[in-house]
Symmetry: C2
Subunit: 211 residues, 2 copies
DNA sequence: GTCTATAGCCCGATAGAC
DNA sequence: GTCTATCGGGCTATAGAC
């Protein structure tokens, strides 16, 4: 809850060291990146032409090619900045000193809050096909935050706060509930705000791993 | 388990009324569809050119355009036949007379079995972006089978076999565990066969909704 | 720095031989 | 029915005016 509140007043979630990475909606470069992100999510990288980005962003071809050396470079900068931003939100907000339940609850609440308050960021995170243009083939959402969740779960099992079992499968199960809910919310299948059903979803996710 | 076994000997899963819909690997049309499916999953519809399909399938441009009126028509036939096949597997194999646990367990085992035995089918089901070329905007995996699972869950709650709560969120939670596991298996993140960890995953998924 | 205009390329689709 | 060769179109990226 408190997380959702913070996210709504945009300033407080972006710490000093994070600000520079934000895709600035004011500048032309940011307008291009935002328009491109929306279009890439909607249609996919290859289906989005530079003329389409020109039209959607209001920035001309020439200006775009002054900020980015080519279309792939644009996509790569978008990828890196969105991923960095996403990871900053995670590392900045999930309490290090809490117990296993507190940490995982925070992970889930933050995921829901980002989905509700920055849907384009979350949509991009879940949608983007890594293999479309990025050379390393690690899907975006299996990277840092996901591995971090694995660590929380592994620690929780070791401390006896979670049921014994394969920590990897437990992490998959917990995040499966959360991610599936986010996906269905972003695609409009779930009508209610995730913030309103957060408790029930977190209960369900927690049930997969609790003792 | 028995499901996995059946799937391995390909004949038994394809009933009489299903056979005609199968993408025949022998005929040229089937070779085109199989090659296209693989390429579409790997790179996305727009990134795959007709020349690329010619090369991958060994069928010439002229022959392709004798089977399909254009590239979109090819994609649409592929979509419909793969979806039909997938749904046939579901409706043919999940027991109608079982209790809630038995039905959902069968759904999960069948999902794992398809992922292991027909990875290209499952990959396509999870990967394809509906909005890339299909006019109606319903994501492929939210359609019939998913709605059917919702019904099973709703019935289970009504009969007191599942915990009370929002049936939709319960269905999301159960399928979230299953789908996430399948996704991570298909992308190579999970190394073990899902058939070997089926029991643990089904336990986790079931825990989200049981009384 | 930012614009418009356009070069050069590859794609989808077709034509015509066989 | 199936092949190769090719056309028109839209794309990425650049050139040149301002």
């Amino acid at each position: 809850m408190f997380i959702a509140f913070d996210l709504q007043k945009e300033h407080s979630i972006y710490g000093e060291n994070v600000t520079q990475r934000i895709i600035d909606p004011q500048g032309k470069r940011g307008m291009v990146l935002r328009a491109a992100r929306k279009l890439f999510v909607e249609k996919g990288y290859y289906a989005v032409s530079i003329p389409a980005i020109v039209k959607a962003s209001g920035v001309s071809t020439g200006a775009i090619y002054s900020y980015f050396s080519n279309k792939e470079d644009l996509a790569r900068q978008l990828y890196e900045e969105t991923l960095d931003h996403f990871q900053d939100l995670f590392f900045a907000r999930v309490p290090q000193d809490s117990n296993t339940y507190g940490k995982l609850r925070a992970v889930a609440e933050l995921s829901f809050a980002i989905a509700e308050n920055e849907p384009e960021t979350m949509r991009y995170m879940l949608t983007i096909r890594h293999d479309e243009f990025i050379s390393d083939s690690v899907p975006i959402c299996y990277s840092e935050p996901f591995r971090w969740i694995q660590q929380i779960v592994a620690d929780g099992i070791a401390k006896g706060e979670l049921k014994a079992g394969d920590y990897f499968l437990s992490a998959v199960s917990f995040t499966g509930v959360i991610i599936r809910a986010v996906e269905l919310r972003l695609s409009g299948v779930i009508k209610d705000s995730l913030l309103d059903v957060s408790d029930e979803l977190i209960n369900n996710a927690w049930a997969t791993i609790r003792v």
